[in-house]
């Protein structure tokens, strides 16, 4: 897989985390007790395990503008945890629950691990999906993963040089420096359409804050989420590739020329 030629590229992007994920219909008969078997599938490269709260089902639907999100959490009684299978150096992570598989990459705090690039992460995720599909089909009455939602998130933590630095020096959508905002918190959503029909959303969340060293940052997250054309792995990977192009182009449009120079735009 090669990188599209026309895609903006940076020598040193402020990328701190990338998440590729799918949501699928749990195979009939699968129960949490089998999660140990799933860990065994990936244990060679992901030797550490952690249990965290499960992600609720997520669907992109279209009708009214998003005027409310319910706080309702449905419970089924028994519930499946989400498992983090972490690599030895904890820079990569597989997240698994009965209806989700995700792959995360993160930059270490000292920045010593360069971003391996999407072209290298996607084949890993493809391999993990195929391994899981094979496990489900061998052990449960499931032919192939029935994927109903894909998502891709890029987290950028943009280090500000000092707290007095205007946000619009870095972020183009905040061209309101004269108002001297103390902080910003912006969420935008763009409808993604295919043949004039909506299929997903590009969500951009931009917050000012501090990192763990109490250095001022802008946290800029871009997420593409939606349903693939077909529910199989092949179409899901295509969705993720197209999502990546959308995110990178949007990031380039949102951020300023000053920022591009700092990050070594090619």
């Amino acid at each position: 897989m090669s990188r599209p030629n026309n895609l903006p590229d940076y020598e040193n992007p402020p990328l701190s985390e990338v998440v590729l994920g799918v949501q699928f219909v749990p195979p009939p008969g699968y129960q949490q007790i089998y999660s140990r078997d799933v860990w065994e599938l990936f244990k060679n490269d992901f030797s550490k395990v952690k249990e965290v709260e499960a992600l609720p089902p997520s669907f992109e639907t279209f009708g009214l503008p998003k005027n409310r999100r319910s706080d309702i959490k449905l419970h089924t009684g028994a519930s499946h945890d989400r498992f983090w299978f972490l690599s030895g150096d904890e820079t990569e992570l597989i997240q698994f629950q009965q209806d989700r598989l995700l792959h995360n990459w993160r930059k270490l705090k000292d920045g010593s691990n360069p971003y391996p690039r999407f072209e290298n992460i996607l084949p890993k995720f493809e391999s993990e999906l195929l391994i899981l599909e094979e496990y489900f089909s061998s052990n449960f009455s499931s032919n192939e993963l029935e994927i109903n939602q894909c998502e891709l998130t890029y987290v950028n933590q943009i280090a500000l040089e000092d707290t007095s630095q205007p946000f619009d020096k870095w972020i183009g959508i905040v061209n309101i420096d004269s108002l001297e905002f103390e902080n910003i918190s912006i969420t935008t959503q763009k409808l993604l359409t295919r043949d004039d029909e909506p299929y997903g959303r590009l969500t951009c969340v931009c917050n000012s804050g501090f990192d763990q060293k109490m250095e001022p940052i802008i946290d800029l997250r871009l997420t593409v989420r939606g349903a693939p054309i077909k529910t199989n792995i092949e179409e899901s990977l295509l969705f993720l590739q197209q999502g990546r192009n959308l995110i990178v182009n949007s990031f380039d449009e949102i951020t300023t020329e000053f920022a591009h120079k700092k990050w070594g735009r090619k």
Partner: protein, 162 residues
């Protein structure tokens, strides 16, 4: 927050700058609840009840409503309902599916949630004629939004005429 986000690492690093029943077979067509009523807690309870039904809850082999279908139905309701939308009826199917329904004197709207992104809709209103209109829906519910809006207009007209 952890249970809502797929990022695993970054959330721990940024610190905010500032604050920063099923119904009997011959169910009665009941006039829906008054508009503006906050019925979300009732819907929550109803869906929780339906996903916790026992297998064979109908005396035969019916399954409880699936968690995925209930979650999707909730998301659909969020997408199509305004604060003034009357409460729907939620009716379980026998195969893990469910129906979301509105019935008024002028309008009937039924959304059969078979699976996530697989909904069969039936709308019968003065606009559609007595035969009604069938729709196969996946993720775009704008037609249902329009039908609900028209249903509300008819309710207001009826109230004004009374």
């Amino acid at each position: 927050m952890l249970g809502e986000t797929t990022t695993a690492f970054s959330d721990q690093e940024i610190q905010s700058y500032s604050t920063v029943s099923y119904l009997p077979e011959n169910r009665e067509r009941i006039l829906i609840n008054e508009p503006g009523h906050n019925w979300w807690p009732d819907i929550e309870e109803r869906l929780k009840h339906l996903i916790n039904l026992d297998n064979g809850w109908d005396g035969y082999n019916a399954e409880p409503v699936s968690f995925l279908n209930a979650s999707f139905a909730l998301r659909v309701l969020e997408t199509i309902c305004t604060i003034n939308t009357p409460a729907p009826q939620i009716v379980p199917g026998t195969g893990g599916d469910l129906q979301i329904e509105w019935h008024t004197d002028t309008t009937e709207i039924e959304l059969h949630v078979i699976a996530p992104y697989r909904v069969e809709a039936w709308i019968c209103s003065p606009e559609t004629g007595t035969d009604g209109k069938e729709l196969i829906l996946t993720n775009n519910f704008i037609e249902v939004v329009r039908a609900l809006s028209k249903m509300m207009e008819h309710l207001i007209d009826e109230a004004a005429a009374a």
